[in-house]
């Protein structure tokens, strides 16, 4: 059953994120994806995540299709103008990609091509409207299409530091939903209790909420997040739990699995992000009972 159908039926969906390679060797991407085939409902393919030049999300998405896995590709306006974005969306549909996440690109200054020219013609709301327009059968100039695409289109809520910034994010999310977003990916959840208060507010948007589980890979990463993003919810207890574990790597996978399992009771899905540890996804899914 497709991701769209599962979400519309209110079923819980499991997504895993995988980056295409920086190069043309797709061995690692394909072997990692094969490990979770049949265990996830979709593979999220970011587009040049964190500003690092890689194979495009469209290419990665098509590879997932060839494996018989459903792809969810990121689309954003930093690198492409309205012409290129619309063209790629038409291509995505024809190549079998059924799902998009419209998001914001990382600032070019933080990536590996800081001297590149930025496009930023369409923002998230503008891009969602473009998708809607294409689905309605016309491009952004109002010219009729020969066949229109049909896509499940989601968006993301950015990290929020406090109640005030959460309110702003939710207001913006409401705009995104109005512009056509059909589901929402949340920032990483490290604490199920704080997710409850977030969810109580976010569920008013009346679209499926899919929280992110970000695999903390070491005590160092946990400390880094706690120090630099104190609002994210990485507690001292969590750091202590990893530090005191006999097998720290396994404990990290277990924590991610437990979070995913806990979120099953609370949200409409989960997106698991492993940043380079995609081969560990089966273990996380085992711990999550998924």
């Amino acid at each position: 059953m497709s991701l769209k159908k599962r979400l519309s039926k209110g079923e819980f969906v499991v997504l895993a994120e995988m980056n295409p390679p920086k190069g043309v060797d797709i061995t690692r991407l394909l072997s990692s994806a094969r490990l979770i085939k049949g265990r996830v409902d979709g593979v999220v393919i970011p587009d040049m995540d964190v500003g690092v030049m890689r194979m495009s999300a469209l290419g990665g998405g098509v590879l997932m299709n060839q494996l018989g896995m459903e792809a969810v590709i990121h689309v954003y306006g930093r690198d492409r103008n309205s012409m290129a974005i619309q063209g790629d969306i038409l291509a995505a549909h024809v190549l079998g990609i059924q799902n998009l996440i419209v998001t914001t690109g990382e600032d070019m200054a933080n990536g590996d091509h800081p001297s590149a020219k930025v496009v930023d013609e369409l923002d998230v709301v503008g891009l969602l409207s473009a998708v809607q327009s294409l689905e309605d059968g016309a491009d952004l100039s109002g010219i009729a299409l020969e066949g229109s695409p049909s896509l499940l289109t989601g968006c993301a809520i950015e990290a929020y530091k406090d109640d005030a910034s959460l309110e702003k994010e939710l207001e913006l999310a409401a705009k995104k939903v109005e512009a056509g977003a059909e589901f929402i990916i949340t920032p990483p959840v490290y604490d199920l209790k704080s997710f409850d208060s977030f969810y109580a507010k976010a569920s008013a948007l009346k679209v499926p909420i899919i929280p992110t589980v970000f695999l903390i890979k070491s005590v160092g990463v946990a400390r880094y997040i706690a120090r630099n993003e104190p609002w994210a919810g990485v507690s001292d207890d969590l750091i202590k739990r990893i530090r005191q574990a006999a097998d720290r790597e396994n404990e990290c996978l277990k924590i991610a699995g437990e979070l995913a399992a806990g979120l099953r009771e609370k949200a409409q899905g989960v997106k698991i992000v492993t940043i380079g540890w995609e081969t560990k996804l089966p273990v996380i899914l085992d711990y999550a009972g998924m």
Binding site: P114, S115, A116, V118
Partner: protein, 222 residues
């Protein structure tokens, strides 16, 4: 100079509609030179607005003034008394001036009366054309004093595209091909060999692509 054009009257009227007292502020710099927002244009717009609202049976009180510059805090301060007497400020400066007023007078509405267009020069009486995009890394020294970033429609850095015909750009017969101009100029300077030099991919960080820009002069900063 920074060039600008006055906004359409209908848009200006809608900005002023909900107020009874406004301050209309011109700028003595660039927008005066391009006849969009100087003292003369302030007078003309104030009269037009008064007449418009008079016909609607409404009295709009307008305080008229023109500052030496609107992009400089010391001149913006001169407006304090007038701003205190009005409901809103209508600025005829470029976007820099409008934002300086908004920054200084935080509790006052401010509206732009012109559309800021580009950094350009006067080609002849009544005609201004774009000359600079402020890319932050000037190449004029190697392109014969003609800018391919601002004046080539495609911002091409290594010679003309196939759309250059008879010295004109494919987008319009009114637009000169920047690379034809560059070639002609290099030829007249006897620098044809420099044309062979390849310009690599630009570093766009110095332009707006690197985010909003600032210049900090430590030797001048207080």
């Amino acid at each position: 100079m920074i060039t600008a054009e006055r906004k359409p009257m209908e848009e200006i009227v809608e900005c002023a509609r909900n107020f009874s007292r406004v301050l209309l502020v011109g700028c003595n710099e660039c927008v005066t030179v391009c006849a969009a927002g100087g003292r003369k244009e302030v007078g003309l717009l104030a009269s037009a607005l008064r007449m418009h609202f008079m016909k609607e049976g409404k009295n709009l009180e307008i305080i008229e003034t023109t500052l030496e510059r609107q992009c400089d805090p010391e001149y913006i301060d001169e407006l304090a008394d007038s701003v205190g007497q009005v409901d809103a400020v209508l600025s005829m400066a470029c976007g820099c001036g409008v934002q300086e007023i908004a920054r200084r007078y935080k509790d006052k509405h401010v509206f732009p009366m012109v559309n800021t267009k580009f950094m350009g020069a006067s080609e002849r009486q009544g005609v201004w054309a774009e000359r600079c995009q402020g890319c932050g890394d000037c190449v004029l020294g190697i392109t014969g004093g003609i800018c391919p970033i601002a004046r080539c429609s495609k911002r091409i850095l290594n010679g003309p595209c196939g759309g250059s015909t008879g010295g004109k750009c494919e987008i319009s017969p009114d637009v000169d091909c920047a690379w034809q101009l560059i070639w002609d100029r290099m030829k007249s300077l006897g620098q044809e060999d420099r044309y062979e030099e390849v310009m690599g991919a630009r570093d766009w960080r110095t332009s707006r692509d690197g985010g909003p820009r600032r210049i900090i002069r430590e030797d001048m900063a207080l």
